[in-house]
């Protein structure tokens, strides 16, 4: 092939040389073009004003070329030639730009919907085996374990995780974690990616988006990462009650995790064998990891995903009917009420608090993880000397995408279409990104959770749902300082648990 290419190249060159040698033979013919062009040069003299160009001794190359073109060639040739050069240059540029991106497989809406439905079917199957299984509680357990894994990594406390981790993990922490401390762990998002039903085991893979600060010999680096944790548990057992799932505890007695190396609970003396009473991590993989930097905070990409169709939960209306039966309500009326008094109202209030850089006023509306995540981003903006403003917020539509019911929790996912002025300013009020004058249309999937049995939908946004005191004194832990009750677990009404961007939502 190489030889062939070279032969053709040599052939072309030879042809051109031959043409050059034979040129006198075709003299008469050739004279017609340059000679013709030459005769026009006199006409070109009419551009002689341009002659002062050389006197100026300046101007860019392209301008000079264009000038030369007009001066030296008749307009019938120069104008199409300029157009041709520009068109060709445009296409070359366009082609080069298009070629920069690497094309990789990507789950489109259809594939994401199929995956979403498959996971839904698997969760339903899991609930038939384990009636106590709750996605909300399971993810709470995953979050607690993830948090403790990194908080305790390399410390003596790590052995308290022995019932939940493989012995390799424990050894790894002992061997490689001595000089490492991990702090400020923030979990952004969690998604069940796969459920495997085997003869004696059930496996669930969870993708966790998080960020944390790693300190090695006093030097700190903040990382943003995605990990996949694969949990296993013996088939046929029931999930522990909510109190044993929401925090890392002995699955037998519920005491806070305090185990020996061999997994014996120091409170009740029960040996907790891996996967016999509670989920344990069979494997965990870091999918992506990079150093977290704040440079791009004020950068706005064009909105993607707003035009994508809503991803609805499969058989959503069956769940809706069940929900309506449970609460003795009319589904259509309720969705209208929920859209207006929960989804829209919460969104306006939360966006307002976000813009004011003060989430304290909406602490009662956010789950703990959601609050930590939002606080992380607010603090990041703050440290970078920036404020993200969301103004003129208008709810354009609310669409119900999913509803989930289990023994302990109910969850509702809506896609909220919003238009708002979304921009970033610095502390002096200078615009750094986005537009303060042009509305941006976008949509997000918001998932709300509530404990099963609770009837109230909307919070009185101004007061504690337990004691009625003003909601002005709710600590970061979501506890009302007046009555000491934790009010952010969905025990009183809906709380916002997850926000997912439309372009990545997969249920």
């Amino acid at each position: 092939m190489i030889k062939k290419n070279h032969k053709i190249f040599v052939l072309i060159s030879a042809l051109l040389v031959l043409l050059f040698i034979l040129m006198p033979v075709f003299n008469d013919i050739i004279q017609a073009r340059p000679g013709g062009g030459h005769s026009y040069s006199g006409g070109g003299g009419s551009y002689s004003g341009g002659g002062s160009y050389s006197g100026n001794g300046g101007g860019d190359g392209i301008g000079f070329l264009i000038y030369l073109l007009f001066r030296e060639l008749p307009p019938q040739i120069s104008i199409p030639l300029i157009i041709l050069i520009f068109v060709l240059a445009y296409y070359v540029q366009k082609r080069n730009n298009n070629g920069r991106n690497l094309i990789l497989p990507s789950p489109g809406v259809q594939a994401r919907t199929v995956r979403h439905n498959n996971i839904d079917d698997d969760i339903r199957r899991l609930k038939q085996i384990d009636v106590n299984f709750s996605k909300v509680l399971f993810l709470d357990f995953v979050a607690s374990l993830f948090n403790k894994y990194y908080t305790w990594f390399g410390t003596e406390n790590f052995k308290n995780l022995s019932p939940f981790l493989t012995s390799e993990e424990i050894n790894y922490s002992e061997n490689f974690g001595r000089n490492v401390r991990i702090t400020e762990i923030v979990i952004g998002n969690m998604r069940i990616g796969e459920i495997n039903f085997l003869n004696d085991t059930i496996g669930i893979a969870v993708d966790i988006e998080a960020n944390y600060t790693k300190e090695i010999r006093g030097r700190k680096t903040r990382y943003i990462l995605t990990e996949r944790w694969y949990f296993n548990r013996k088939n046929g057992i029931l999930s522990p009650e909510p109190e044993k799932m929401q925090k890392l505890a002995c699955p037998n007695c519920g005491a806070p995790a305090n185990f020996t190396d061999s997994g014996v609970c120091k409170s009740c003396g029960t040996e907790i064998n891996k996967g016999e009473m509670q989920w344990f991590v069979k494997k965990h993989i870091i999918l992506t990891q990079s150093v977290f930097r704040t440079e791009g905070l004020a950068h706005y990409e064009p909105e993607r995903g707003t035009e994508l169709p809503v991803i609805y939960r499969k058989n959503m209306m069956l769940y809706a009917e069940e929900f309506a039966r449970r609460h003795n309500l009319d589904w259509n009326e309720w969705t209208e009420y929920f859209s207006e008094n929960v989804a829209a109202k919460y969104l306006l209030k939360i966006y307002d608090a976000w813009s004011r850089n003060n989430l304290k006023t909406v602490r009662n509306l956010l789950s703990d993880r959601m609050y930590e995540n939002m606080m992380f981003w607010l603090n990041t903006y703050k440290q970078a000397g920036l404020i993200n403003k969301l103004e003129n917020v208008k709810i354009r539509a609310v669409r119900f995408a999913g509803i989930d019911l289990d023994r302990f929790y109910e969850s509702v996912t809506v896609r909220i279409y919003v238009s708002a002025l979304d921009y970033v300013i610095d502390i002096n009020g200078n615009l750094k990104g986005g537009s303060a004058g042009r509305l941006r249309n976008f949509s997000e999937y918001w998932t709300f959770i509530r404990r099963t049995g609770v009837e109230k939908d909307d919070y009185d946004l101004a007061s504690c749902p337990n004691c009625g005191a003003p909601a002005d004194n709710i600590g970061q832990a979501g506890i009302c300082e007046y009555c000491g009750t934790k009010i952010t677990t969905g025990n009183f009404s809906w709380v916002l648990a997850v926000i997912t961007q439309d372009e990545v939502y997969s249920g």
């Binding site: 290419n5 190249f9 070329l65 240059a89 070629g99 990789l104 893979a205 996949r228 694969y230 990545v504």
Partner: protein, 207 residues
Amino acid sequence: MKQFNDDFKSELYKTIEDIENKSLVEIVAAVRKNSGNYRDVSLFFASVVSFLIVSWLMFAEFIIDVYHIYFIALASFVLLYLICELINPLKRLLIRKKRMNRNVEIYGRAIFQKGGIRFTGQKTGVLIFLSVFEKQVLILPDRGALTAVPDEEWQTLNNNFQTVFNRKDIATAFIKELKNSGKIFAEYILPAENDINELPDDLEVDL
């Protein structure tokens, strides 16, 4: 490159998902318009040909304005450069095959590295990289996959993937060959019970 649209990406995703359901192999398929811009070749081509044109004009027997020669040299250089950039077969003809092979290999190895394909537990990651301009498909298996599949089968895969360039719709042909490759992977890299996909669903490679 229009054929490599969102539908193609989605189809590619589904195809890989199907293959991985039947095998422990972890496939990453990537497509790029080219593995190098080869602008130097277009510039060289434009220089040589415009030089020949200038030489021809300089020694011509007819009278030609010196401005014309200067201008024609510039204009022909620009036009020839642009033409060479736009006509892929011409550009490809001027590039040595060895250079294209090397570029595809360098690019493929960069994707393999930056895409984290080497992080699978059993080392069963396989990169299938299609570089359109060079008309090459590079298959880069990690050591687990490499030793699990006989060399003869890798040769077959290489040959089969190379045929996609004989078809008009490269994208469809590529998907078809990928589906066919699934049979080989399913035969030699058996699926493991109680295991998970170890690469991200939405891989991003920042090169």
